[in-house]
Symmetry: C2
Subunit: 339 residues, 2 copies
């Protein structure tokens, strides 16, 4: 097994990407090929002389703010396109990228193709909960979704939770406003009716206030709502932190309190840390692709590489593919070509 | 001016409602009529013998979990219905309720009617920001919205921010995922195009991560997204707090840190406190109706009563009504009867 890591993608590329890849190779024994500008990668690898990491040269870089579709067309030798090509040709088993999210999704969908029966791939993002973590999908790949899209997300999330996270009979919840089936918008009400009839372990609507309480292992929503949840969670944590800093600066005696409490404050905050999870798998494409946060540091990249390896090892693509085509999930698969 | 306060609505009714009303009467000099069970209200008022607060008897109560439309039909003598009736008959100028939100909205819309040109009333909720506060609407009254609904929300939010919050030329933002006009779902992209053409001071999309950064004074979205934002913000703050408590309990020395930091922690947390704002005006109905959080304490109720008085004093209903019918806002008013 070999993981193709986009060395040029992300706010701290290539420094942190190379560092994270080296750590994954050395500490986790994962075979890695760094894809990107050979000279830049070599210069970074020189800091880690003992590292056994391969390089695949790619002369171009898709910038963070480039239009995804245009960038791919214009830059066939960009690191993300070359990395995906390696998975297609069998030279690698998975892609990890902290670069332009839209470009990574577009490349993965275009090059790897979709799993038959899945109309739209979805980003499976992790949320911390009082009981551990939950997988939320879609985290932002599809802003406008149909009921069928949501049902397919549910099946993909279930397979991921069961096969990779090793949860037994994972609980599927539907993000909504209000717990009753009658609460929500037209999309969630229609999806609720279908999910309730399915063979999934559906636990009903998950109200916004319960998202972090661990009432479901897999939380289903359209990409607009999902992305909003992820960003609001990050934004409010930052807001509280900046408020606290401001209050602390008002009185020197607080500095002593911070000194004493600092480890506890740090650990409480770390439970929200995206780097803990490393990246979000793009589920529904015919291959493993892990999309990392643009601000990924070495630890996040190492965790993303481990997540990629685990998805490959546990055959998550094969399980999704088999499940969506099984008779018992016919309800989820009425028209695979439908949007 | 007289404010009709639903004494029976809310988790801590009638105790905290009566207490908050008495405070508003005594400290803010506002004329108040408490609507609800006469005996229960009298018993509470006995704790405040000097208070000059009137009572309007109502024999029924709409429970928090009752179906709004059914409850109103079946309970014509409920406190919320009687309070609304007092505004219709001119015996009161505004309603304040911390009871069943759906019922309060339905009663206000049914009894007071809509402002001509406004298809759907919206809840204007307050969000704290690094620069003060922002008004978000819709906070949950309309889960499925059209572009016209959003444009009308923008006009109502602008009038409220300008007339009541006294902001000069308030900045209107559109909640979306991504800042560029091309980012978002079908609804936000279409609304962006219309808002950009309007005479409003439109500052473009507000990404989830920027909601608390004060980039807009008024944030427009459908009620599903808006309610999600409010609930996720509340949920993540609770989650962080419970994480911190858990960490603190791990080591007795942290207790000392908490003792020192406690005022700063409390003040940082208070910036998120709904009681600070008291309640959310339901804009678009032909009268003033403030909907308070179910968990409102006396302070929240007092602030809600002050908000109601301020909305009446500043003629917000009249200004919304005039503005939506002005020629320059013709774009917002193409078909007032349209959903």
């Amino acid at each position: 097994m070999r993981i193709a890591v986009d060395a040029m993608g992300g706010d701290f590329a290539p420094v942190e990407i190379v560092k994270g890849a080296v750590e994954a190779a050395e500490k986790d024994g994962i075979d890695i090929v760094l894809v990107g500008d050979r000279d830049q990668i070599k210069a970074e690898l020189a800091k880690h002389p003992a590292a056994a990491v391969e390089i695949m040269h790619a002369s171009e870089i898709v910038q963070m703010d480039e239009h995804p579709a245009n960038a791919i067309r214009r830059k066939p030798d960009s690191s993300i396109v070359v990395a995906a090509g390696m998975v297609v040709s069998g030279e690698a088993d998975a892609i990890v990228s902290a670069g332009n999210t839209g470009a990574a999704m577009a490349v993965a969908t275009l090059k790897l193709g979709r799993i038959p029966g899945i109309a739209r791939p979805a980003i499976a993002s992790f949320l911390p909960t009082n009981k551990g973590k939950a997988v939320l999908l879609d985290g932002g790949a599809n802003v406008d979704c149909s009921v069928d899209n949501l049902l397919q997300f549910a099946v993909m999330g279930r397979e991921y939770a069961e096969r990779v996270l090793k949860l037994n009979n994972p609980r599927i919840g539907l993000l909504s406003i209000g717990e009753e089936p009658s609460k929500g918008n037209e999309l969630t009400k229609a999806a609720h009716a279908q999910l309730a009839q399915s063979d999934l372990h559906f636990v009903g609507n998950i109200d916004g206030k319960d998202v972090f309480r661990g009432a479901a292992d897999v939380i289903i929503c359209d990409g607009f709502a999902g992305n909003l949840v992820l960003k609001i969670a990050e934004a409010i944590a930052e807001f509280l932190q900046s408020n606290l800093k401001e209050e602390i600066n008002k009185n020197p005696v607080y500095k002593l309190g911070v000194l004493i409490l600092s480890p506890a404050l740090k650990r409480a905050k770390n439970r929200l840390d995206y780097a803990e999870y490393g990246g979000a798998p793009l589920l529904g494409v015919n291959g493993v692709c892990i999309i990392s946060h643009g601000r990924s540091d070495a630890r996040a990249i190492r965790n993303a590489i481990k997540a990629a390896a685990s998805a490959v090892e546990n055959n998550v693509v094969k399980f999704i593919s088999t499940t969506v085509q099984q008779d018992e999930f016919a309800i989820l698969n009425r028209d695979p070509s439908a949007k």
